[in-house]
Structures are given as structure tokens and as C-alpha cells.
């Protein structure tokens, strides 16, 4: 029995199909996200009259700057079907290294470069274990999440190191002159454009999607699967290190527990942005909108005097929901198909029965 057998007869299959295609276009994940963003902004404006002011825009951006930067490489990693849970720990350890070097008399710029480079090394270690030893990235990065944070704690157990040069630490708290944007979000904007171009308009981007869709097929198509994955982990480390530098400058200090647990926010951003956790699907545009949603949501909840711990409930739920909702459509389709086949079988049985009589 055909797909359209149960549709009303006054609609021709052609108009139905085109209407369906149109509906699917409107129901794109990014559109849903924009609606969600609108809802969040309305909620924010409702709880605080200051929500829509430009200084608030600055604070929204400031709050999500590091999350946004780390979300970009994680997006690519998730598209290839892997995961990196160690990002927040790499941020913490890089910040600690920068502060320690600065404390030992290094000038600030080399210390910052060393921190970013350390991020790259940490990411390379993840990448080595995943690609060269063939270990599952989930297990590896759960291990290095503990390991990197543990090293940071071992180096800087209880102290806080601060005292960075004022002209640098101010970039964490003042907007770019003439705008209401913090520096971190400007970096994110520039990086997002680069990532979007690479992912959606270059052979490398198509290779990344191909790996996520089918690693075997990609391999046989001549794509350097392991090499690409390795460098994605390095990239994730480098940008986490960079986020660590920005974080330390923003708070004008480094502690071992900087950004602890932040992997939740970054993973949520990526999955909310419509990147499939099973790999192979998603857009950078979706992730950018998801960053905006998360930033507005966080600030709106804070304006509503909801403590940070309770905000985790919201974000955690959002994380699970952003996988359930697209899955839900799939489950619904599957359930409907099963119903239909049952009905069809019953019809066939009835027809056979009638014939037999």
C-alpha cells in the first residue's frame, strides 16, 4: 500500500509532496532555534527591564565568550562522530600554566603563548590516544578530564595567582572601543566565519561530514580519517588553551578549578545547535544561534535571581531535550510506519479471507 493511501482524496500527491517539503523547510532545526531565541529574549525582557539594553548585551556576550570559542572545534569533533569532554580541564590547566609562568617571572606574552601551546599538546595527547591507539574518545576524554584537572590541582592546589598587567586583564572586562562587544565574542565571530567556510565550503569540510556519515566509506574514499581527527583534537586543545587565557584575563586570576564542569555547557551548545550526536549532520550557523540562546538564557535566569546551581538543571534538561526532540520525530515516524504496516497486513488478511469465501 502506498504512502499516500490514507490521505484525503481531494489532494493530489504532487501538491502534498511539495507542501511537505515546504513544511520540512520551515521546520528546520535552525528555525526552531530562532523561535527559542525569541522566546528566551522575551522571557529576559519580561523579568528585567534592563535585559534589552546594550550594556546587558555586553555581559551576555562576556558570559558565553569562552563557551562559544570551545564549541566551534567541538562541533567539528562531534560531526566526525567523536567527543571531547576534556575541554574545560584543558582550559583550567592552560590558565594555571600561564599564571605559574607569569608568577615565575615570564613576561605575559610568552606565558600566554605557552598556555595556548600547552592546550595544543594536551589536545594532541587526546588525539594520539583516539586515532593511533584506536581508543574510544569518550573513555579517553573522561580520563584526561580527570587527569588534566588533577594536574592543575596538583600544581596550584589552593592558591589563586593574579596580578596580570592591567592593560591585558582589562580586555576581559571592557568592550572593544566604540562597540558593546567584548573581545572574546569578537574572536568567536571571526573564528565562526572561518569554521563555517571550512566546514561548509571546502573539501576538508566535506571530508569531515563524510567521516561522520560513515568512517569506513570515508576511509575507502581516500580520506585521511585518522589524520583529520587527530588535528581536530589538537585544534580543540589549542582553542581551549586560548579560552583558558581569556578566562584568566577576565577574572584577572587563575585557579585550578576554573570553568570546572563547563563541558556541560559546551556540549549542550553543540547539540542544541543541531549537531547530531551520532555524527555527520549539523551546521555552524545552528551552533552560533545556540550560543545566543544559551547566553540569553543564562543571563535571563540570573536576572530572575535563579542561582547558578539551579541553572544547571535547566541546561542539563536542555542537553537531553536537544537530542530527544529530533529523535522524537524519528520515533514518531517509525511508530507510524509500524501502525501502517499492521493496518496494511490486516487489510490484506481481510481481502484474502474474502477471496477464500
Amino acid at each position: 500500500m502506498s504512502d499516500l493511501a490514507f490521505q484525503p482524496h481531494d489532494e493530489s500527491p504532487a501538491t502534498l509532496a511539495s507542501r511537505r517539503a515546504a513544511l520540512r523547510g520551515v521546520l528546520r532545526w535552525e528555525v526552531l532555534l530562532l523561535v527559542l531565541l525569541g522566546g528566551t529574549i522575551a522571557f529576559g525582557a519580561d523579568v528585567s527591564p534592563y535585559f534589552l539594553q546594550s550594556t546587558n548585551l555586553f555581559y551576555i556576550c562576556l558570559n558565553v565568550g569562552e563557551i562559544a570559542i570551545m564549541a566551534l572545534p567541538l562541533t567539528l569533533i562531534v560531526v566526525t562522530g567523536e567527543i571531547d569532554l576534556s575541554i574545560a580541564s584543558m582550559l583550567g590547566l592552560s590558565g594555571v600554566l600561564m599564571a605559574e609562568l607569569f608568577d615565575h617571572g615570564w613576561p605575559i606574552w610568552p606565558a600566554m603563548i605557552a598556555a595556548v601551546a600547552l592546550g595544543g599538546v594536551l589536545g594532541a595527547f587526546n588525539g594520539f590516544l583516539v586515532t593511533r591507539l584506536g581508543l574510544p574518545s569518550l573513555a579517553v576524554t573522561i580520563g584526561t578530564l580527570t587527569l588534566y584537572r588533577g594536574i592543575a590541582q596538583g600544581i596550584l592546589p589552593t592558591d589563586t595567582i593574579g596580578g596580570f598587567p592591567a592593560h591585558l586583564s582589562s580586555i576581559g572586562v571592557v568592550p572593544i572601543p566604540g562597540t558593546h562587544l567584548p573581545y572574546s565574542i569578537a574572536f568567536f565571530g571571526a573564528l565562526a566565519i572561518v569554521f563555517a567556510v571550512v566546514l561548509h565550503a571546502t573539501p576538508l569540510g566535506r571530508a569531515i561530514f563524510a567521516i561522520g556519515a560513515s568512517q569506513e566509506a570515508a576511509f575507502f574514499a581516500g580520506i585521511r580519517v585518522k589524520r583529520i581527527k587527530f588535528w581536530l583534537f589538537v585544534l580543540s586543545g589549542l582553542l581551549s588553551g586560548f579560552a583558558g587565557v581569556l578566562w584568566s584575563l577576565r577574572f584577572a586570576s587563575a585557579r585550578y578549578d576554573s570553568a570546572i564542569g563547563m563541558e556541560l555547557f559546551v556540549v549542550t551548545t553543540v547539540l542544541l545547535g543541531g549537531i547530531s550526536i551520532f555524527g555527520g549532520r549539523g551546521t555552524i550557523a545552528g551552533v552560533v544561534v545556540a550560543v545566543a540562546v544559551l547566553g540569553c538564557l543564562q543571563t535571563a535566569l540570573t536576572a530572575d535571581r535563579i542561582p547558578a546551581q539551579d541553572q544547571n538543571i535547566v541546561v542539563g534538561t536542555l542537553l537531553v531535550a536537544s537530542v530527544i526532540v529530533p529523535n522524537g520525530a524519528e520515533l514518531y515516524r517509525r511508530a507510524r510506519a509500524r501502525m501502517r504496516s499492521v493496518v496494511a497486513r490486516r487489510h490484506a488478511a481481510a481481502a484474502a479471507h474474502a477471496e477464500g469465501q
Binding site: P136, L319, V320
Partner: protein, 346 residues
């Protein structure tokens, strides 16, 4: 890895065909015991008070809680899933047990444990349902519930702390009491591990866990109800974490909103060090429990040899990474030997 388990079962009766593969497979638990012995001996030479009865008692008690949690985590990992929420489940059920005593000081111990068990089971039901019904990967679900449950715990507890003075002595005694020098907690953990090891070896449902972890698709084709078994694994893990919450409270004597933060990583490290394959389908509860003991022994040994306890988390992480890398290397080395043997048998 499963092929290893099957190989071993098939070949075991023919004692003459012992090969390196089987040695390495059995080597795991022996290896941990050996490592344990080396750590204990080396530390004791450095500082003989390491083996004092008080220090051994503390070591066994804290290892017991991790070992209990490791039972549930092992079951989940064997089905090729992961449960990151156990630390939060432990935290919220410990707090619930504490609050129950705070408001009803004369409530029976059984009821306290039932409450902790119930809360843990409820958390497990949520995890399991979202994983199996909504088909969300367990990593995502339990990363979410890790923070959601902790958030609920924090919202509920606020700044409140339940102190030892609010708990009855009979309850506290579970935490610090001993029988012939062995703490109750150690006995509880040993009994639980023994039961679980036996169950995982003999019960049909438990063997289903292994089958699912080796190859979910094949398990489904073989008629194993994959969904309900995975669901059961999460409910078991949640329930055990809930019970461990009550045990945790009896040991530490006070509880606030941050009880059990970060336990999930220690437990996963213990499980993986104990030889449970992170890909699922292979490993024993006994190994995981020994892993927990080893991890705790190393951590207390570090303190004794004057390494700051702030390094303990780094040690857990390094052991986790080292263990999965080691397993992988062994598997790669053994694969050709196993292939040869299978061909010979056919």
C-alpha cells in the same frame, strides 16, 4: 574482548592448550593483586605506619564505597553504555537520608535505606527510560542528569548541612563499626561484590548484559530484549548508587549539597583499571572492586609518602588512561594469536 571470554570458556577444559591469551586474561585480577601488594609493601617500607590498623580501616572503608558504586557502573559499562550520574545520585540520596533523620530522629534504619534505594532507583529509571525509549546515547543522558540531579540536590539543600549529631548512633556505627578489625563497610562491600560476581557469572539476565555489550545487533537478533535489559542495568546502577548514598552518610556523618561530587570519575577509573572493557561485553565485578581497592590504596599511599593529596585526581585520570591504553595494546597483540587458534580449531 568478548571473543576472549568465549575463547576461554570453550578452551578451558583442555588444560594442555594454555596459551598466552588465557594467561593474560586471567592475569588481570592477579595483576591488580600484584600491583596492590607492591604498593603496600613499598609504602610500608617507607613508613611502617601505613599498615597500622587505623589506616587499613580507613582505607577499606573509603574503598568500600567506591567498590559498591563500581558494581553498578560495571553492569552499565558491560552493556556498552556509561552512567556519569552516580556521584550525583549518591549525593541526593545521602542528603535525603540525612534530612529524614533530621526531621524524624527515631525512624528505623531499614526505612532510611529504603528511601535511599528508592531515590536511586527513580534516578536510574529516568536514565534508563531516556536511553532506551527515547534512544538518546547514555553519555548525553547521564551527563545531563549528572548536573540536573546535582542541581535538584543543591536547590533542595541550599546551605543546609546535616551533622553527625542529628544522626542516631546506631546508624553512625554502620560507618565506623568493626568486626575483628574489619570495618562493617568492608564486609558490606565484600558480600555485595561476592553476590554480584556470582550473579554476573550465573544468571541468564546477567549473561544477556555481556551479549548486548559484545554486539547489540546480534543480541537483538538472538532474541534478547535489549531495551529492557539496558533499562534494568541503569535501574540497578541507580539503586546501588542510592544505597551507597546511605552508606556514605553513615561513614562521613555529615552531608550537604556537594556530597559525592566527582565520584563518577573515580568509579569509572576503578572499573576500567579493574579490566572491564570500556567497549562493553567483558569484565568482572571482582576486577572492578579490586580496581577500586587499588586506586584507594595508591591515593592513601601518596599521602603517606608525602605527596600532596591534591594529586590524587591526577593519579586516577592517569590510571584510567593507562588502563584503556594497556587493554588496547594487549588486544592488538593477542588478535593474531587468537585468529590462528580459531583457524586451528575449525
Amino acid at each position: 574482548m568478548t571473543t576472549l571470554a568465549e575463547e576461554q570458556q570453550v578452551v578451558a577444559p583442555r588444560a594442555s592448550t594454555h596459551t598466552i591469551a588465557e594467561l593474560v586474561f586471567r592475569f588481570r585480577e592477579l595483576g591488580i593483586v600484584l600491583a596492590l601488594a607492591i604498593v603496600v609493601v613499598a609504602t610500608t617500607i617507607d613508613n611502617h605506619r601505613f599498615l597500622s590498623s587505623e589506616s587499613v580501616k580507613n582505607l577499606l572503608s573509603s574503598a568500600a564505597i567506591i567498590a559498591l558504586l563500581a558494581i553498578g557502573e560495571t553492569i552499565v559499562i558491560i552493556t556498552r553504555n556509561v552512567d556519569l550520574s552516580i556521584g550525583s545520585v549518591l549525593g541526593i540520596s545521602a542528603y535525603a537520608a540525612g534530612v529524614l533523620y533530621q526531621h524524624h530522629p527515631h525512624v528505623s534504619i531499614v526505612l532510611v535505606f529504603l528511601l535511599a534505594l528508592g531515590i536511586g532507583a527513580a534516578c536510574g529509571v529516568v536514565n534508563g527510560a531516556v536511553v532506551t525509549v527515547a534512544r538518546v546515547p547514555s553519555l548525553v543522558v547521564t551527563l545531563g542528569t549528572l548536573y540536573v540531579i546535582r542541581g535538584v540536590d543543591g536547590a533542595w539543600a541550599g546551605g543546609n548541612q546535616v551533622n553527625a549529631s542529628m544522626l542516631p548512633t546506631s546508624f553512625n556505627r554502620i560507618g565506623y563499626g568493626t568486626v575483628a578489625g574489619v570495618p562493617y563497610l568492608g564486609i558490606i562491600a565484600i558480600v555485595a561484590v561476592a553476590i554480584a560476581t556470582y550473579a554476573m557469572r550465573s544468571f541468564r539476565t546477567a549473561r544477556d548484559f555481556y551479549a548486548i555489550g559484545s554486539d547489540p545487533e546480534a543480541a537483538r537478533l538472538a532474541g534478547i530484549p535489549v531495551g529492557s535489559r539496558v533499562f534494568l542495568a541503569f535501574v540497578l546502577s541507580g539503586s546501588i548508587a542510592g544505597l551507597s548514598g546511605a552508606v556514605w552518610l553513615s561513614y562521613y556523618g555529615s552531608v550537604d549539597a556537594i556530597a559525592g561530587v566527582g565520584y563518577e570519575f573515580q568509579v569509572i577509573a576503578a572499573v576500567v583499571v579493574g579490566g572491564v572493557a570500556i567497549f562493553g561485553g567483558s569484565g568482572t565485578i571482582l576486577g572492578a572492586a579490586l580496581g577500586a581497592l587499588l586506586l584507594n590504596t595508591i591515593n592513601s599511599a601518596l599521602v603517606v609518602v608525602n605527596v600532596s593529596s591534591f594529586w590524587s585526581s591526577a593519579v586516577s585520570g592517569a590510571l584510567l588512561v593507562g588502563a584503556i591504553a594497556f587493554d588496547r595494546l594487549v588486544a592488538v597483540r593477542l588478535a593474531p594469536a587468537l585468529r590462528r587458534r580459531r583457524r586451528a580449531r575449525v
